[in-house]
């Protein structure tokens, strides 16, 4: 194996432009692949965030008593579709309002707890359960208004589904593309090295001795592309984190989890090795007759 690595290193070093071109193609493939995975994971996290948020908010009329609230809470607790109920008093509402507008003293002066309504935030297991829960709440005479942010969740669900399907298809396509690129590059290398292969055969090289450097070379291009793509993706995410955080507000997506990125790197390396090995093995089987 030591000698195979030495031969691989020499093959790569003595054809640097081919090696750069091959690594660049693999870089582009893995750049797109990792970007899709990051996007899919991000949208999934965002969806989970929205699904876990209090999805139905019911505002109480002025003069609602604690008994009325407790009665509604007890009724909702009987519902298996409900996962969480949170009562927000007028004082809590004022606290939230102050926190959100702490940089604008004018707005803080104008508002007191008495003008803010108390509310009930109800979470459900499934976004599809939002509408029936909202209907139950709307029937309560002490409730003045019910807000159902189901459209956000529905849109996000559909976006996530699209990302998942198109991402899956694109990743599949890119895998096939990357494998074909490796087959093309390695078969080209086999062609230009046919004299060397012929000499090695006549000197008594075993088929494994001749083939292994080509397979390692394919794996090297895959691994180089994957690592460079990961560095670029991670750098871009890092660079844009402050900018994106402003848009994402409470959704805890950024800064991106290091463990997730390391897992992505590990996964990419495994895929890169597999794609490199399968591609070069196919090229060797097809074009290297020993």
């Amino acid at each position: 194996m030591k000698r195979a690595i030495k031969f691989t290193r020499r093959n790569i070093r003595r054809t640097p432009f081919q090696a750069i071109a091959a690594s660049m193609v693999m870089l582009l493939t893995f750049l797109a692949l990792q970007a899709f995975i990051i996007l899919a994971a991000g949208s999934q996290t965002a969806l989970r965030y929205f699904e876990s948020k209090p999805q139905v908010i019911a505002f109480f009329k002025e003069g609602t008593t604690n008994q009325d609230v407790t009665a509604i809470e007890n009724a909702l607790k009987q519902e298996i579709r409900v996962t969480n109920i949170k009562f927000v008093s007028k004082e809590d509402a004022l606290q939230i309002y102050r926190e959100k507008n702490k940089n604008d003293p004018t707005l803080l002066e104008l508002v007191t707890a008495s003008i803010l309504p108390a509310s009930l935030e109800v979470s459900t297991k499934d976004p599809q359960d939002l509408a029936p829960i909202a209907d139950i709440l709307k029937r309560e005479p002490v409730i003045s208004e019910v807000i159902v942010p189901e459209d956000v969740v529905a849109t996000l669900t559909s976006i996530t589904r699209i990302i998942r399907y198109t991402g899956g298809a694109t990743v599949g396509f890119l895998m096939v593309f990357a494998t074909l690129v490796i087959i093309m590059i390695i078969s080209f290398k086999i062609r230009i090295k046919r004299t060397e292969i012929e000499i090695m055969r006549l000197l008594g090289a075993s088929p494994g001795f001749v083939r292994t450097p080509f397979i390692l070379e394919g794996m090297f291009y895959g691994v180089t592309g994957a690592v460079l793509a990961w560095i670029i993706n991670y750098s871009l995410l890092w660079y844009f984190t402050p900018f994106l955080q402003g848009y994402l507000e409470d959704v805890k997506l950024l800064p991106v989890n290091l463990l997730f990125m390391l897992t992505l790197l590990g996964g990419s390396l495994v895929v890169a090795c597999l794609v490199g090995a399968i591609g070069s093995f196919a090229a060797v089987r097809r074009y290297l007759k020993i």
Partner: protein
């Protein structure tokens, strides 16, 4: 050492070797001569197992090389050194690396390779050229490199297919003297050539092929 028994080789309808029977003993130097298309190269290619005969048997030592398994061919080829007319050196390797390749494919250690290559390059008198690439070598130096590559693994047989074909007479003689020296250690040399002067001066065994048949086989023979 080498025993061809009724060996024939057909390429389509063309009979390249026709019922060849030939025995070569340990330590012999044999010239294979004949016009183009006589079957000289085919004979050598069968000995390296690049081609299989259509019929017949070829014994090398106690082994019938027509019967050995494909997986055992590399091991057999390590016993046979090959030298070509066009040298077949690799453009991107130095003289040292060309010769080291023989031992690398045999799985020798770096230390063994260093020692054996140094010894062989000194023997063929191109040690001072060890860091040069083929384009920087003269024809004679290139052929010496090819010979060094063929003999560094200490093969029992060296096959030389027109090794002086691309060389001027003076350089060719240097190569022949080197092959003669290698032969003096007991290595069988089988050399296909057109060079009458070399054959006639060296006075070794001459096997004349014509249209795939042995038409003459004489000790200390001549090429007419």
């Amino acid at each position: 050492m080498i025993n061809f028994k009724s060996v024939s080789k057909k390429f389509g309808s063309n009979l390249a070797l026709d019922n060849i029977t030939l025995e070569i003993k340990q330590g012999e130097f044999v010239f294979i001569v004949g016009p183009c298309g006589a079957g000289k190269s085919t004979l050598l290619k069968i000995l390296t197992r690049e081609n299989l005969p259509t019929s017949g048997k070829i014994m090398v030592g106690n082994v019938d090389i027509t019967k050995i398994k494909d997986s055992d061919v590399p091991k057999f080829r390590r016993k046979v050194g090959v030298v070509f007319q066009d040298f077949k050196l690799l453009d991107d390797r130095t003289v040292f690396e060309q010769v080291a390749l023989t031992l690398e494919v045999q799985g020798k250690s770096d230390k063994e390779i260093q020692k054996a290559v140094e010894h062989t390059l000194k023997l063929v008198e191109i040690w001072d050229k060890r860091n040069l690439f083929p384009k920087q070598l003269s024809g004679g130096e290139a052929q010496r490199t090819a010979i060094a590559r063929a003999i560094v693994g200490k093969p029992d047989i060296v096959l030389a297919d027109e090794p002086t074909g691309d060389l001027d007479l003076k350089t060719a003689w240097g190569v022949i003297q080197l092959l003669n020296e290698i032969n003096s250690w007991g290595t069988v040399i089988l050399m296909a050539t057109h060079n009458q002067e070399i054959v006639n001066t060296l006075k070794k065994r001459v096997v004349v092929l014509k249209q795939g048949k042995i038409v003459k086989d004489s000790k200390e023979g001549k090429y007419e």
